[in-house]
């Protein structure tokens, strides 16, 4: 497809388990972002990739959170030993640095519920 795709769209996991969230950005987009959106709250920045490297990891809330990106394409956000407070919608966005056209395109999000 032409847009940003995230999988799974919904994930229910037991407290203490690890989860992996996947993001397929728009082809050719060099920048990729992960955000967290708790119910009724705004966007919380997690991590930003430029190509395969992450110049800004400042938003990762703890060392249980990690992310990687390969081939300047797919990115995976991993949460280890999930806690109930990790329940949220995790959004991925990508953008191109072509000229000044830097609109960010968002995926539909992964709704994570930790029970």
């Amino acid at each position: 497809g032409a847009g940003v795709s995230q999988s799974p769209s919904n994930k229910v996991t037991e407290k203490g388990k690890d989860v992996e969230l996947r993001c397929d950005p728009i082809s050719g987009h060099t920048a990729l972002y992960w955000y967290r959106q708790r119910l009724g709250q705004g966007l919380e920045f997690l991590i930003y990739f430029q190509g395969n490297s992450a110049p800004d990891k400042s938003g990762l809330p703890s060392d249980r959170f990690s992310a990687e990106r390969t081939g300047e394409s797919v990115s995976t956000l991993t949460i280890q030993r999930t806690q109930q407070e990790d329940s949220a919608v995790y959004l991925c966005a990508s953008s191109s640095q072509a000229g000044s056209y830097t609109e960010a395109f968002f995926g539909q999000g992964t709704r994570l519920t930790v029970v």
């Binding site: 191109s96 960010a104 968002f106």
Partner: protein, 109 residues
């Protein structure tokens, strides 16, 4: 440090009333500013960007470099405008986009 501030978490107005969602930014370079909107059960999407000087769905936003503001305005709010609105700053060269915390607009009948 670069920062985008949206001082209001929630803004409630009556249908037909004017609405202004505030956004202030902090950035020493030449900013590109955007407003994004998220309607209920839809993905976050671009509403407008300052370089286009456009009006989308009756909304406009003017970049004021002196006040470092990019407030979103609409003269007559509609119920379908109820949504979450995010102001965003793209740094020079587009290497990073920073979002504000968002303002939830609720338009009452």
């Amino acid at each position: 440090a670069q920062r985008v501030t949206q001082p209001e978490k929630l803004l409630s107005v009556f249908k037909g009333a004017p609405v202004e969602l505030k956004c202030n930014y902090s950035y020493s370079g030449s900013p590109e500013l955007f407003w994004y909107v998220q309607y209920s059960r839809q993905r976050l999407q671009l509403l407008l960007r300052h370089i286009s000087r456009e009006s989308i769905k009756g909304f406009t936003a003017d970049l004021n470099k002196g006040e470092t503001s990019f407030h979103l305005k609409k003269p007559f709010a509609q119920e379908e405008d109820s949504a979450m609105y995010y102001c965003a700053l793209s740094l020079t060269g587009g290497f990073k986009t920073i979002f504000g915390a968002g303002t939830r607009l609720f338009v009452k009948a």
